[in-house]
């Protein structure tokens, strides 16, 4: 083991990690947003729209991320969608994550007792207000553990972006490995970075959960 080479490659690895975090963060935020929209459409739109969305969910969930990314990056130009590596990667992550997030939100919404929605209808609240004030706050809280869990899974999917030359951590690690033949050291550092990222997300997730469920849990005496 020789860790002296990190003097030379440290900066590029750090930059790579920065790109990884950026890709993960934006991909997660956009993927969640798209997933939320999908889940809401599924709940309120007519049945045939639901079927179309169901096909989208099945296709995206049923194929590997690597393949989706290839299709997007190399097939995109054929239909005029010419993207640089980074935007293509972000779009790919967003699309890849969205059906999983949609399913998480759907089950979160289902966990909101129907009676609480009916109580809002009974006093004459309109559906948009019911969504904003009742369905979303309660549904999001019950979705939270699964959201954090899938966000953690997504961190590790970002390594696939290296295939289309997004300069994230895996990309930098591969470059360093092939230039120095220090495969073990390079990949150990990669593992360390990911572990730190995942640990951070998981801690934030637990704090958030404790905070938002504070009033929802029956007092046990």
């Amino acid at each position: 083991m020789d860790f002296a080479i990190f003097e030379q490659y440290g900066p590029s690895l750090l930059r790579g990690f920065g790109v990884t975090v950026l890709c993960w963060l934006l991909g997660t935020v956009f993927g969640m947003a798209l997933g939320l929209v999908i889940a809401l459409i599924q709940r309120y739109a007519p049945r045939w729209v639901g079927w179309i969305i169901q096909i989208y969910i099945e296709v995206i969930r049923g194929t590997p991320f690597l393949v989706q990314l290839f299709v997007l990056y190399y097939g995109g130009p054929l239909i005029g969608l010419r993207l640089d590596a980074l935007p293509a990667g972000l779009l790919g992550l967003t699309i890849y994550g969205s059906p999983y997030f949609a399913e998480i939100f759907r089950s979160g919404f289902r966990a909101v007792p129907h009676g609480q929605i009916e109580a809002a209808r009974a006093i004459g609240m309109a559906e948009p207000a019911i969504i904003r004030r009742i369905l979303l706050p309660l549904g999001l809280v019950s979705s939270l553990p699964a959201l954090v869990n899938f966000s953690i899974i997504l961190t590790k999917e970002t390594v696939i972006l290296s295939i289309i030359t997004v300069p994230e951590l895996m990309y930098q690690v591969s470059r360093m490995s092939t230039e120095t033949f220090r495969y073990l050291e390079a990949n150990l550092v990669l593992a360390l970075f990911f572990w730190a990222l995942v640990e951070t997300i998981s801690r934030i997730g637990h704090r958030l959960e404790a905070r938002v469920t504070k009033h929802l849990i029956e007092e046990r005496t």
Partner: protein
């Protein structure tokens, strides 16, 4: 306070092939308490839920102060906006309370005033405070439902309904989910409401409440309205054998 009347005529409701309400006729006079009793599965909750159209009836008419609810004309659904307007005048209290767990007692009561009546937050909260005081919960306003007993939660639910100043109140087994020692506090609030001249329709298994507070009692079985009369004549001198059988079971179960 203005009190509504309800006219139910020839109402039918199906769940698939199951005939849940069969040609139900019932007249609910303004300012009076009507109790719906009968065995479980008899359709009394379904009928109650048809009155504010949480449940859509398939045929017949339900009129509140003469206005058909749920349909513009028989067979044609009314707009969501019109339905919401009609529901504003109808309060409902559920068996499972259905408070919103992420809001305090005061926020639960204020929510409808803000979103439906368009009040400012401060006005709504002071109005919510009055309603909660009326049901005896002045000291619990900042509690979330998880920090309230079942009886207190149900009283918050009643406050949530009356804060909207309804002209008609629907109660769907309001005490059935409560521990026996908590039933009284909820029934007392309901008695106060009744004495103020609120039109009330109450689905209940509390025969004592029906006997002492109701102005009329309607007995349902298997989707049919078997009889409507004064509490005394339904509960103490029932003519119909189905009512007699129901009361016999009730008395057997409740004798010590």
């Amino acid at each position: 306070m203005q009190a509504s009347s309800v006219e139910i005529s020839k109402v039918n409701k199906f769940y698939g092939p199951f005939h849940a309400l069969k040609d139900v006729d019932l007249s609910i006079p303004p300012g009076k308490v009507t109790c719906l009793i009968g065995p479980s599965g008899s359709g009394k909750s379904t009928l109650l839920r048809c009155i504010n159209f949480l449940e859509a009836y398939d045929s017949g008419e339900i009129r509140i102060d003469g206005d058909l609810i749920g349909y513009e004309v028989p067979g044609k659904r009314m707009s969501g906006r019109r339905l919401r307007e009609m529901r504003r005048g109808i309060g409902m209290v559920f068996q499972q309370f259905n408070l919103w767990p992420h809001m305090t007692a005061r926020e639960n009561v204020a929510e409808g005033l803000i979103r439906v009546r368009g009040m400012s937050k401060s006005e709504a909260e002071s109005r919510a405070g009055e309603a909660l005081t009326k049901v005896g919960l002045a000291d619990k306003m900042s509690n979330h439902p998880s920090r309230l007993s079942g009886g207190q939660q149900q009283r918050v639910a009643i406050a949530r309904a009356i804060a909207m100043e309804p002209r008609l109140m629907l109660f769907d087994e309001p005490t059935s989910a409560l521990d026996p020692e908590l039933v009284g506090e909820v029934l007392n609030v309901m008695k106060t409401l009744a004495s103020e001249g609120m039109t009330m329709v109450v689905v209940t298994h509390e025969m004592g409440f029906a006997a002492h507070v109701a102005d009329q009692v309607a007995f349902m079985e298997k989707g049919e309205l078997v009889g409507v009369d004064s509490p005394d004549r339904i509960l103490h001198q029932p003519q119909d054998p189905r009512i007699q059988a129901f009361l016999r079971t009730y008395h057997e179960r409740n004798s010590i």
